[in-house]
Amino acid sequence: MEESLLIIYCSEGGRKALQKMSSEGFRLPSGVCTFELPCTGRINDVMLMETLQNGVRGIFVAGCREENCKYLDGNKRALRRIKRIKKLLSDAGIEGKHIEMQTFGPDEGKRLYSAINDFAGKVGVS
């Protein structure tokens, strides 16, 4: 799938927001794959870079709200790591827009939906 997006979400906030999204009747755009991790704190540079290198157009990470990580600071670490990768990518002449992380509360299905759509629009996957 050349024109694909990957959504990595954590088992807590991200998952609940995704469930709320689907229960409200919002659906993901086509070409979007999902992948669940126990905590966004597990995401590391290599994982993101290898995924992008394999032709995925963009990676969207949905974590828990700050201060609300079950593992204390997994989401904050992930946010910083993604900031680092974004900078690395833009330094390398690839636009940093291909990676994005946002945090969601359990009820923010609508916001998750619009965030994913915005992101899909930004990286050029419709």
Partner: protein, 220 residues
């Protein structure tokens, strides 16, 4: 430990020649410990170079125990033979050793080597030694005035410190001589303060006190 930091990738890319095969070589000792040139960084670097719009045919990643020891180069001889250039993620010593050993290959440095220092916590490194070759730590109670004093004074404080902080950076940098005084007091060796030190060789002067490396993305 030698503390180094990765060069901005844009700078590295500019330096890379257009070659058929590139080897990215990491070092598993100091620079792995300071999170600049270990196996993970090699992988990330490889991916980044592959993705960057650069006319490089093939990028291989490899990592050896130490780049400052000849013996370890044996295991990569075959790989190096096949590649056209090496991007070394080691300290300056490693880069120089590589170019010495593989004379025919172009070696590009991927890191900026900063200082000899200690790991003070997640993502925080502090300079501890200047490598001046003339250690006087026995007299100063184990605190080096050459590194810890911003002005590198050898015979007591300048008089500008306040509340134990250096006048150059009163918020973040401690006065080296204040630390020495306190330490000597604990050791009951205050008479050492009276020992006269010969003037330093200023030809190897450094600037601005202990250099710090703060990496926000690693800190807790």
């Amino acid at each position: 430990m030698i503390v180094a930091e990765q060069k901005p990738i844009g700078e590295i890319l500019k330096k890379l020649p257009e070659v058929e095969k590139l080897l990215v070589l990491g070092c598993d000792t100091c620079v792995t410990v300071c999170l600049a040139g270990g196996e993970k960084e090699v992988k990330v670097m490889c991916s980044a170079i592959r993705m960057a719009d650069k006319k490089i045919g093939e990028v291989t990643g490899f990592s050896i125990e130490r780049q400052c020891d000849r013996e370890f180069f044996k295991e990569i001889e075959a790989v190096v033979k096949e590649s056209d250039a090496i991007l070394s993620l080691a300290c300056g010593a490693g880069v120089q050793m590589l170019s010495d050993y593989f004379e025919g290959k172009l070696v590009i440095p991927g890191l900026n080597t900063h200082f000899i220092g200690s790991n003070e916590g997640a993502g925080y490194w502090l300079e501890r030694c200047l490598g001046c070759g003339d250690c006087m730590l026995d007299i100063t109670g184990g605190i080096c005035p050459k590194t810890r004093c911003s002005k590198g004074l050898m015979n007591g404080p300048c008089g500008g410190s306040e509340n134990g902080m250096c006048e150059i950076d009163p918020l973040n940098t401690e006065c080296g001589w204040y630390l020495i005084y306190e330490r000597l007091k604990k050791l009951n060796m205050l008479q050492n303060m009276m020992t006269n030190q010969p003037p330093r060789d200023w030809s190897r002067a450094h600037d601005g006190g202990p250099r710090k490396l703060l990496r926000e993305d690693i800190q807790p």
